[in-house]
Every structure is written in C-alpha cells, then in structure tokens.
C-alpha cells in the first residue's frame, strides 16, 4: 500500500447542523447543457431545471424566482417547497434525481451503475480533518444498510465496504451492522493518504490495476455519501441538491448540510465564523483550492477550511527523492519540473497525476511541485 500518514486529530464530530437557506442560490452548468427554465419562472426545491449533455437532470436546490439563466442560474429564494420524485426504477431514479458521485470525481452515477461483480463502498476519508462521510455513516447507518441490500438484490454479486480502521466508533458500527450479512465483506484500511483513491481501493481489494474505469476489473466504486444520496432518491423521492460539508476553523469543527449553489460567505456568516484576512480552502487541505469568499459551493466540495496560514518559502531542490518515492502513481515530480518546456516531457507521463499533492506536501524544500505538474499536464495535452 503506497501512502503517507498525515497528521490527523481524531476528534470526531458526528452531529450535522442545518443551515438556513440563503437569499440567493447560484447553480452552475456547462455550455453544452440544456436549460429548460426561463427568467422569472417559479422553481421549487428538487425541481428539474434542465439536463446535462449526458442526460442527467440539473436540480434546483431552493424554491424561488429565477433571476438569470446565463451564464449561471441565479434563484432568489422563497420559503421551501420540496418536490418528490418517487416510484422510479433504480437507474432512471439516479438520472432524474441528479445523483453524482460525491467523492470528488463528480461523474453521473447512473453511468457507472451497471451490472458488475463487486460494488466497493468507499468510506475511507483520507483527507485530514474532513469528516463529512464519517458523519453520514454514523447518523444514517440503517438507511445505508437498506440501500446496500437493495443494490445487492438488483445489481451486484458482492459488496465490499472499505473504511479507515483507526476510528473505533466507525469500526464497531460497521462490524455490528454488516459482520454477519451475506455477500458483504468489510475491509479495514490503515490511515494512509491517498488510500481513499479509487485505484488504491481496487488494488487493495482485487489486487489488480485498471486503466481508466474500475468496470474493467468488474468493480464499481461508490462513496458512502453517494449511497445515502441514492437511498434518499430511491426510497424517499428526494433529489440530490444538498450534501454534508465539514467546516473547519482554527478552533472549531462542525458538519453542516449545505445546498448546492450556496456561497462560501453565506455558510461562514450563518455559522458566525469571521473570514476576513483568513485563507478559505474549498475541499481538503491536500487536494482543495484556496478561493475567495464569494465562491459558490457545489456538490463535489466536502469541506471548507477558514484558517490562518504562513507563507512557504521555496528553497533549491536537494534531490532527496522523497517526491519520487511517495508518489502513488510512481511519477518523478522533480524530473517533470526540470523537463518543463523541454523535449521528453511526455516520456515522464505527467498526465497520469491524480492531483493528490503528496509531492508538494513531502518536499523539504517546499517546491510547489503540484503546480509544475499541472503546467506539464497542460503542455502534454497541448502537444497531443
């Protein structure tokens, strides 16, 4: 197993708070998507606003009046009226309820839910301090169990639940609920980063590598939050328009339900967190991005950090080789950096990078290697 142990405080927060609906919601979409609502239309929570190029529904996350439809849909919110989409066949339900993989890949779930041998439920939350999946698992274990049984009946031969074994509550919870369930296997993994990565999980379970899609080796990987979202859509008729996010400051940590399209500042203001002169990070500390307070939160974001941070000063490379030895895809980040704008860059395969940021984290000279790899990726794409 390739990975590194990151500093992680094991203070888990299982409560999930509700946030008030903001005055305005911004829903992003791609140019190729077809939007069916128009300006001044009244939309309800859970209503379909249009369809993506893949045929997936774009869901409204609030009730209100549409102010604008281009380049983003802006809704002035009113009192919530929820639309229910019940009694549908599973795959149609995934499409109509706008279910996406909530692990970060953000692919339409209906596309990958095909008949396969194994379903891997990913409850390994390896990003430090993030515990959105943990909160979902602890609070909604019965619902997750029901959904896994349904999926076993309809699509899969076996289910493997992979989780991080360092937290006792989680281990006990999974053991009591699934230890004696037929066709369900539990896999406790060490607290290593990036073990939650799809390819690492498949390698741990199947002992084989795949090229592009886990289906090549008969696997479908789904995040535990996605399983709960599918439960809500299939059994309760609730489309996917909100998710649990962990909000972390220097001295506070809490889980909240956040609607798709809320602004970071709305969330921080609702939680009474001062954000001026602080760094706001959307996503985890490793793979996340520093953003402005007016950035819109989407369903693929699982955490918001509002912290103070020292600036790192880049030093010359000492060729310690730590970046090369820890890379989960066996790239040579420092050589990629040295080969930028030069011939032979494509031989180092920067396009294989999974953006895990271990190279930049581990570098004792604080060289922002990830930045250089992203640049190299663009150069290789350009030449292709």
């Amino acid at each position: 197993m390739i990975g590194i142990r990151l500093e992680k405080k094991n203070q888990y927060q299982k409560e999930i708070d509700l946030l008030p609906c903001p005055k305005e919601i911004t829903i992003d979409y791609q140019k190729e998507d077809i939007i069916t609502v128009r300006k001044k239309d009244l939309v309800k929570t859970g209503m379909t606003l249009g369809t993506t190029k893949e045929g997936q529904a774009i869901i409204s996350s609030a009730t209100g009046i549409v102010l604008k439809t281009t380049p983003k849909i802006i809704i002035k919110t009113k009192e919530d009226i929820l639309i229910n989409k019940k009694n549908m066949e599973l795959i149609t339900c995934l499409k109509e309820a706008g279910i996406y993989g909530l692990s970060g890949s953000f692919k339409p779930t209906y596309q990958k839910y095909q008949k396969a041998k194994t379903l891997i439920v990913n409850a390994v939350e390896c990003e430090p301090y993030v515990q959105a999946d943990y909160a979902i698992a602890v609070n909604y274990m019965e619902e997750i169990k029901t959904m896994i049984n349904t999926l076993l009946e309809q699509l899969y031969d076996e289910v493997v639940i992979a989780f991080s074994g360092h937290d006792r509550t989680l281990v006990e919870l999974f053991t009591t609920n699934f230890a004696n369930v037929d066709k369900v296997r539990l896999l406790s993994l060490p607290n290593l980063y990036p073990l939650g990565w799809e390819k690492s999980l498949v390698r741990c379970i199947k002992h084989v590598d795949y090229d592009k899609d886990p289906l090549e080796v008969g696997c479908v990987v789904s995040n535990i939050s996605t399983i709960y979202a599918i439960y809500e859509a299939y059994f309760l008729g609730k489309p996917l328009y909100e998710r649990v996010i962990t909000v972390i400051t220097d001295n506070k940590k809490q889980n909240v339900w956040v609607r798709n399209g809320m602004k970071v500042k709305d969330i921080l203001q609702s939680l009474q967190i001062p954000y001026e002169n602080k760094k706001i990070i959307l996503g985890g500390l490793m793979m996340g991005k520093a953003v402005t307070a007016s950035t819109v939160v989407t369903l693929k974001d699982n955490a918001i950090f509002c912290i103070e941070q020292e600036k790192q000063i880049e030093q010359p490379c000492i060729r310690c080789g730590k970046c090369t030895n820890t890379c989960p895809v066996k790239l040579q980040p420092i050589l990629i950096k040295e080969h930028l704008d030069k011939k032979g860059l494509e031989r180092l395969h920067p396009e294989k990078c999974i953006d895990c940021s271990i190279c930049s984290y581990i570098c004792p000279s604080r060289i922002p290697l990830k930045k250089y790899i992203l640049k190299a990726k663009k150069q290789v794409d350009y030449h292709d």
Partner: protein, 304 residues
Amino acid sequence: MIKENGPFIFTPLTSQKMRQYFFLALLPIVFYSSIRYGHLLKLSSTFLLGIITQIVLLTVYTKLSHQTFDKIKNQIAPLTTTLLMYLLIPPTLPVWAICFTTSLYLLFQFLYLKYHLNRLTPFFLSLILSLLFFGKIGYSIQEMLVIPNSSWLMNFMFYIFPCLLGFSFLIFTKSIKWKISVISLITVMLLGTITLLVKHQVLSEGLIKILTSPILLFLCFLAPDMERTPVSGVGCVLYGVVLGMTIVLVSPYFLNVHSVYYLLWLLPILTPFCDYIGSSSAPAWKKVAIPFTVFLFIFIIKLL
C-alpha cells in the same frame, strides 16, 4: 474564484532541519574523536577556527555584496561543513592551513551559489586540494581513530558504534537516502565474505579495513549525499551496489583513505544513468539493467 491550489499542509521536515539533523548525527563521532585523539584543546581550537574563519569571510562578503547574512548563512551551513572538515582534515596542520582550506571551501561555495552546482562539490574540491597540498603533513583524525592492535569488538565499541548511532538517527529522522548506505554496506560485507572464503588475502584484509576504518564514515554520511546521488529508489539501490563493489576493489590497494574521496568525487557520474534506469519512463532499461548488474556482480566474483 480559485486563488491557489493545494496542499495547504506540509511535512514538518524542511531542508534546513535536515542539515541540523546531519550536524547532530555527526556529534557522537566528533566527541569520540576528541577523546580518542587526546588533544581536546587543540582540536576545539581547530574547530572554532574553522567556524570563525567562515563567519568572518561571510560577513565581509555580505557587506561587499549588499546581501543579507541569513540568506547566505542558510545556503552554506558553516557548522555542519566545519564539523565534517574537522573530521577529515589532518589536525596537525598549521593554523594558516586550516584558514586556507576554509577559505577555499567558501570560494567554491560561492561558485555553487552562482552556478547552482552541487552543494557538496565545493566541500570535496577544497578537501582534495588541501590534501594535495598538506596531505603529507599528517593523517586526518578519522584515520587515527582506529585503535591499533586492538580487537574488532573494541573498535566496534569505540568507533563503529558512534558512527552507527549517528547513522541510525539520520534514518529515524528520514534525513538520509539510507538505501545507498545500507546496500553498499551489504555489498561490501557480501563481497568481503566471499573473498574471505576464496582466501584472497588483499581483498579480505581490505574488508577488515573497511569495517574498522573511516570508510564506514564515508558510507554512512558522505556516500548518501542527496544532491549527487540518484533520486529514484531503484537508482539508489543500483548506485549502492556499484559503490560497494568499487570500494571493495579500490580501497585495499591504497594505503590511506584518500582514495575514497576521489571515488566519491567520481562516482556521481553514474547518477544520471542510475536515475534513467530507476525512472518510470524507462521500463525496458529496467528489465535489462538489473540482470546486467547481477551478471557483472557474479563476473567480478568469478574474476576474484
């Protein structure tokens, strides 16, 4: 709007800390050398003189070049290099010779800063030049460390132990490419055992010399020098094997350990080759090079 990409946390181990750990790792062997040699006062004054010369020259340079002292000091790390110099240059040298070696070292360091050469290169350059000039005056402290006519265990207790203690500390703090040292030591042991078995007198004497001599210091501290050795894991293993084999072949035929300075000076020529083999971009090379090295290894043993 995205301002910056992750990560936003970093390993606590910085390159500056790694240099500090290297300094700490050298301390046991320095203390032992001081006690063993006996002239504690003279050695301390040599050590202090090395540091003072460096600090004076750095201060003059920063004044002349209008740079900040801290920036230059961080790049040059006077303490660690003086400590290494203390272990490697003959203590019987006159005061002016120590000042000369230190100044020479600094001169090469500035060249490093200007042309981004390797960091230990200036150190080796100054050392080799000094030894060429003053080598005949006396042996280095390290060469005097081995207790003459004493048992292997005695030497182990008083020489190998402090050396390995420092080395273990560097492994524990992850501040060293341990693969190079460990693999080269294993190669030396393996080849040495074979030469003992085939009763090759020169080489088997060489083995004892290696394990109870300053070469151990080179293998533990200087050979895995980060900047001049391969980056990849496979490259490090290969480099370690070649280093071990070369040491066994070269060291018994030389009376002093100066030959190893030259060896460590020359061997990094192999680094790009080892990196190429260890690189993910050369899978075909990997398949050929590793069996080739094993074949070379067997061939040399046969030759012996």
